[in-house]
């Protein structure tokens, strides 16, 4: 499916989300309230199992700290149709939490542990949510913009 067609289809399916054409792929942005209470899993399941989309390959999962809020960014691809899309969810900055995708895409488990480690986002329903890269006793989440470590970081 081409990007334009995909954009139309997504608009039909998710009328309340903000959808726009990004630099490469259609971008679907949800506010956190729209996908709270387990609705996010439904959205992802729809994207994964609807015959038109079949987004079965989560090739990148990451997070961006925009100081006022976090953006979870999921890059999805269909190995059958070879089309891709970007799924974004806005999370609030105080208590960021979102449903874990580790039972939908198993690769998400490691990615989410990394994001938990470096951004401090809590994934509800994650089977083994603990730090994976930093030591257990590490204080703070270093990829947040307000992270500061005067001992280890030498600023240029």
């Amino acid at each position: 499916m081409g990007n334009d067609e995909l954009l139309e289809k997504l608009k039909e399916l998710f009328p309340d989300a903000s959808i726009e054409q990004g630099n490469d792929w259609p971008e679907l942005l949800f506010e956190h309230a729209q996908v709270a209470d387990g609705k996010f899993l439904e959205v992802v399941q729809t994207l994964k199992s609807t015959n038109e989309f079949l987004f079965n390959y989560l090739f990148c999962e990451t997070c961006v700290d925009w100081k006022t809020h976090f953006n979870m960014v999921y890059h999805l691809e269909s190995t059958q149709y070879r089309h891709s899309m970007v799924l974004k969810v806005k999370l609030n900055h105080e208590q960021p939490s979102i449903d874990s995708l580790s039972f939908v895409y198993r690769t998400a488990e490691m990615h989410e542990r990394e994001i938990f480690d470096l951004f401090g986002i809590v994934f509800t329903g994650h089977p083994n949510l603990k730090r994976i890269i930093l030591t257990e006793d590490w204080v703070g989440h270093p990829l947040r913009k307000d992270y500061d470590d005067p001992i280890n970081m030498i600023k240029l």
């Binding site: 960014v73 198993r106 488990e109």
Partner: protein, 371 residues
């Protein structure tokens, strides 16, 4: 990894592999639960070489941040640089001169061969055959010499810059690459006699470390790991970049889903890479090797993603720009990280010896996983 890692039950033994262990090729730490010699559970513990590259890149300019990527997956340094340069070029809408594209693809493929050769030697070493390592390095050293001549470094090149390549190729480049191809073609069969056809080796590899196609996709694996399970995922074919849409080569796919298929994919990929180099090496066009760019690169506001096929799989470079001279956020989607997540699934029920073999076929580079 779905189950919780609990303390060892009666008759089980928890054993630490790594951080310093010969089979992990670096400082990976694996916590495995054993019943006798059979692996019940495996949990990777990363971060022993987490160098905070993503944080560091947030304060580096778009010309500088490329160097840190050659230290990420140091065996595919050129391809990493290429992916980063592509991301910047895409954002700046820089047209890369054709000569630069030719040089880039040739070097990419040489890197792929060198990486696969090192993997081949190291994997044989994991299985206890020490000699193939030396045979692999014999050819690899020729590639390193070619790289050194043109790029000035043996391993971490930083040769590709936004808009092209840093300097023109060395006058002897074409000749030496051709010599290498002749030498390599005469030796590649030796690899098969020494390792592939060995009965012990085949027994160790066949029907070990099974990863079905669905699992391969679900675990987000890419590169030879996924292609060994019959998943077509070569970015060079599915989302062609640079010159790859014009080139004649096959995407190597094996459907065995076991360690041996992953092994075969890599060995065959070396031959395909030679094929690609042969198509390009005689026709490097004259012209500029780098497009004219401003001294200070400022990316427009937005998000940019570029994908490239490294020797280990798909590398994604995700740049979020606020319009300044430094990226707001950079994420490197490293192939090894996702491939490693499938390891627990692959080793369950096999022996310790198999774990080493399976890890060998995943071709993990730990700094690439930890970043």
């Amino acid at each position: 990894m779905i189950e919780e890692i609990t303390t060892a039950k009666e008759g089980e033994m928890v054993i630490n592999i790594g951080p310093q262990h010969p089979s992990t090729h670096g400082v990976l730490h694996l916590l495995i639960t054993l019943d006798g010699e059979t692996i019940k559970k495996l949990e990777p513990n990363l971060g022993y070489i987490h160098r905070s590259i993503e944080k560091m890149c947030e304060s580096l300019s778009y010309r500088q941040f490329i160097y840190s990527t050659s230290r990420m997956d140091y065996l595919s340094a050129h391809i990493n640089n290429h992916a980063c340069a592509m991301a910047v070029e895409k954002a700046m809408e820089i047209e890369v001169p054709e000569r630069a594209e030719y040089i880039r693809v040739i070097l990419d493929e040489l890197t792929r061969i060198a990486s696969h050769q090192l993997w081949w030697g190291a994997m044989a070493m994991d299985l206890g055959a020490l000699s193939p390592f030396f045979y692999a390095f014999r050819e690899r050293e020729v590639i390193t010499d070619i790289m050194e001549e043109t790029c000035g470094a043996r391993l971490t090149m930083n040769y590709m810059v936004p808009g092209g390549v840093m300097t023109d190729i060395h006058p002897n480049f074409v000749k030496h690459v051709k010599d290498f191809i002749v030498q390599f073609k005469s030796k590649i069969d030796e690899y098969d006699t020494l390792v592939t056809d060995n009965i012990i080796f085949q027994n160790r590899m066949k029907n070990v470390g099974l990863l079905s196609a669905e699992d391969a996709i679900s675990y987000g694996t890419s590169g030879p790991t996924a292609r060994g399970s019959g998943v077509s995922c070569d970015i060079r074919k599915t989302h062609p970049y640079s010159l790859y849409s014009k080139l004649q080569f096959e995407e190597v796919i094996e459907t065995g889903c076991d360690s041996f298929s992953r092994y075969l994919v890599r060995v065959k990929e070396m031959k395909q890479s030679v094929k690609i180099i042969e198509q390009l090496i005689d026709n490097i066009p004259e012209g500029d090797f780098v497009a004219k760019t401003k001294a200070v690169i400022k990316l427009p506001k937005g998000e940019f993603y570029s994908r490239a096929e490294t020797a280990r799989g798909e590398l994604g470079v995700y740049i979020v720009s606020e319009g300044g001279t430094t990226p707001y956020r950079i994420k490197f989607r490293s192939p090894g990280f996702s491939n490693l997540s499938a390891l627990n699934h692959m080793v369950k029920g096999y022996k310790i010896g198999d774990l080493v073999a399976i890890m060998g076929t995943l071709d993990l580079v730990i700094p690439d996983i930890d970043r």
